[in-house]
Symmetry: C2
DNA sequence: CATAATACTTCGCCTGTCAAGGTATATTTT
DNA sequence: AAAATATACCTTGACAGGCGAAGTATTATG
């Protein structure tokens, strides 16, 4: 029971921003956290995740820096910018609205 | 207050099938009906609508026939096939599941 | 008679997802 | 010690769906 690409689409950015609002984090961890939250039902594909980071950073919604771990693989941490914070709340509202409209339109018993 | 393309994506087929389950209809009318249902907030773009018809017909979920109106522009009517009916219910379930997961994941207060 | 409304179609662009492949380090298993 | 697994990141190219734009044709309206 996964989510079709076309249904998740448009929500990855919001998901990532939402995660980062809890504090800076990095790709691998965010994805594991998603897995955990969904009880193993869902995780972002790596390519999707990293292309989302790139997109978000290019549009100024997040910024990044390299962690200084003494050991283990290097990690690139991300922070939400003020613009990103604002964008997150807008995206959430968009999602709430979209959900309502889609729910209304999907129903087979038209009020028509 | 429209819906972003990426949020509607993956739901157009379901919306169309849902509409057609009320009885055969045609593109223009379905779109007007969507406009009405949403109080003018939303309608599918023509190109989106007609490419969805094509996709749905090619995958055997709907079939079409020309109306025999004596007057006015010709209309191509669509019918949901049994496979289409089944697909509709599956899509609706997928949507319900996706909604829950997305709702869970976009929240900023991680249970993490 | 011009404009709008009805009705459908096609082309090509854009964007986001993803499969596949690659790099590098640390830990655990055999 | 070698192999396998886990951690961690990155890139490329393909694919699919939404959509802007443009076109065709008929009927109604002002």
């Amino acid at each position: 029971m996964s989510i079709a690409s076309d249904l998740i689409r448009g929500n990855t950015d919001t998901i990532i921003l939402g995660h980062l609002l809890n504090g800076d984090s990095y790709g691998y961890k965010i994805n594991k956290s998603i897995l955990q939250k969904t009880d193993g039902l869902y995780e972002l594909k790596e390519a999707t995740l990293y292309s989302a980071f790139k997109r978000l950073e290019e549009s100024g919604l997040i910024s990044s820096y390299w962690g200084d771990e003494a050991t283990g693989a290097r990690r690139r941490y991300y922070t939400v910018t003020p613009a990103g914070r604002q964008a997150y709340f807008n995206m959430k509202t968009d999602w709430q609205n979209a959900k309502e409209i889609i729910d209304l339109l999907i129903e087979e018993d038209a009020g028509l």
